[in-house]
Symmetry: C2
Subunit: 336 residues, 2 copies
DNA sequence: CTGTTAGCGCTTTCAA
DNA sequence: TTGAAAGCGCTAACAG
């Protein structure tokens, strides 16, 4: 079904059909209705590739995410998809499995696909070759979750949020507060969260035990559980993300500890599922869906004005500590 | 960066550049290397829209899913994305929020986007206008999770799996086994699972209590909890999906019951997160990622052979009961 | 208000 | 082995 067929059947020119679709008020109502009628009969749908080729805009936004298996990013993509749809854009999502090489490849594929703009979550904005390439041209882009002065970013203040978590745990009587994280090098978020933790500990005059860095999710439960069997085990665990927090709760059970009675566990991310768990997960809730939606809005705005996005146009969205049942006061058994 | 620029700089024709990329052995090695060199220098990437317009294939697969907020579908999309990438395809995912009207709209958008094929999860294959449209033309498609004799489907045998769950619960001593489901009308899966449950109950000579249909997720916990406070409350709950199972565990706690001691809870879907929960979720594990991957494979195969997919080419993948800690024998307190 | 036409970047005959 | 040229479906001057 092409515009030609519609034109012929309606007895008008292709230009008129095109106008009827794109600028309905540039044709007489009679013509417009005729064209619409014929188009409907023929089941005509404008060919997106032809339109893109001609106009040099695809109305597609590229999205680069680490993975969809972490609900954080699935929620974010949900927000992106909704906002994009509302603004008349489709999305082309690519995942990187946290691998730098895949970030670069993804950007290349998106450029080739003529996306109008990109939203990306990268490992490390400071050293990303993919970003360097984007800065060289190829339309506007925004980083989500990342934070870096050289790029427009939509995120929360992870560092402050983490320090705040420590402060809350201290207020609950905890002194031995350990942090559990995935590979620090794998993401700037992990680094920011750890930095915030250290800051919080220092502010409370506490000595931070060594970071429990868990390289592989498969072994997370065992690693944490082993850690919890030590003498002078922590009474509270601050986990770098909700998935780790969930596994830490499991690790606690495995070590014979009950959450929150024997161990307080706090996560980071605010995945929706956390609210349905028993015990309900305590976490730093990020507006995941909104992070995605706002990123789209920035992009759409930039697209409309023909500008690229300045680093200063980024957004720092509010986070909120979600007090769940996985976090309670230190018990007398644990206090020393 | 167009093919023209590369041709000019390399001192060859555009046809040669095109061949160097698409049929490397149709040009002399020297020419090929020259072209590749120049292309690299210029950062040339073939324009996907132009290629699509010319060849009438986009190398994009459309995906229609209910939502990304249910990890089941996020996992499936993960499988789709991986398999598609491996086969040289990109994906264009659209979500419908379980709304029929959105299914139709999505299919329209995908057709306009020139996708080469589609993978969809619909509410009800039997009555779907979107599917009727696909059957009329527009390339091959596969349904995932759905099951219907008139369409190629990749799924598990939900009915048998559900009957099997009942059988296991009965073997554990349970007699009062209730089923919790979302709106039955919203999906054929829910209907199949309920049918399997009824079958299983009948096979065990048990009377099935009325289905506990929970229309809104927001009220699920309250509804189930209220149900659990009744006299002659069930000793086991079979939930139509894992998200409901997780909420049911919460509902149990709210009703003062401990899982699995006072109540056995079994889900359906096999989301990865279930294995990390405490208690670990008992569930019917579907190979979610594989369902996506196999759907892609069918599509790619059909695309290669230029055939559309026959309903009989669908796949019934094996499910597995994943015995978690949320399900145990009926306790003496509960047995009557 | 409507029609004619060039051309977006690419692939693919057809000829050389 | 390589080049010239047509044309995929559409939009946007430009002309009428």
């Amino acid at each position: 079904m092409s515009i030609q067929a519609v034109a012929k059947k309606a007895g008008v020119s292709v230009a008129t059909v095109s106008r009827a679709f794109n600028f309905p008020d540039k044709v007489t109502p009679a013509t417009r209705m005729l064209v619409e009628q014929v188009a409907r009969e023929l089941g005509y749908l404008p060919n997106a590739s032809a339109r893109t080729l001609r106009t040099q805009r695809s109305r597609v936004l590229g999205v680069v995410l680490p993975t969809l298996l972490n609900p954080t990013f699935a929620e974010c993509l949900h927000g992106i998809a909704s906002a994009a749809h509302a603004a008349g854009y489709a999305i082309l999502p690519l995942t990187t499995a946290y691998e730098i090489a895949q970030e670069e490849e993804a950007v290349g594929r998106l450029i080739a696909a003529n996306v109008d703009g990109m939203i990306l979550v990268v490992s490390n904005p400071g050293t990303s070759a993919a970003l360097a390439r984007l800065q060289a041209g190829h339309g506007p882009y925004v980083l989500a979750y990342n934070r870096h002065p050289g790029h427009p970013c939509v995120s929360v203040d992870s560092e402050a949020a983490s320090a705040e978590v420590v402060q809350r745990l201290v207020a609950l009587g905890h002194r031995r507060i350990a942090m559990v994280s995935g590979t620090l090098a794998a993401s700037d978020r992990a680094q920011q969260r750890y930095r915030g933790y250290l800051k919080g500990m220092a502010a409370a005059g506490l000595k931070a035990p060594p970071l429990l860095e868990v390289p592989f999710v498969e072994t997370a439960v065992d690693a944490v559980s082993r850690h919890l069997r030590q003498r002078d085990r922590p009474t509270a665990l601050f986990c770098s993300n909700d998935l780790l927090a969930i596994r830490s709760i499991r690790a606690a059970a495995q070590a014979g500890l009950q959450v929150p009675r024997d161990l307080a566990v706090v996560g980071f991310d605010g995945i929706a599922l956390g609210e349905d768990l028993t015990p309900m997960l305590s976490t730093v809730a990020q507006p995941n869906s909104e992070i995605g939606a706002r990123s789209v809005e920035l992009l759409v705005q930039a697209l409309a004005s023909g500008q690229r996005l300045a680093p200063s146009s980024g957004l720092l969205l509010p986070h909120a500590f979600r007090a769940g049942e996985s976090c309670g006061p230190v018990s007398s058994r644990k206090a020393d």
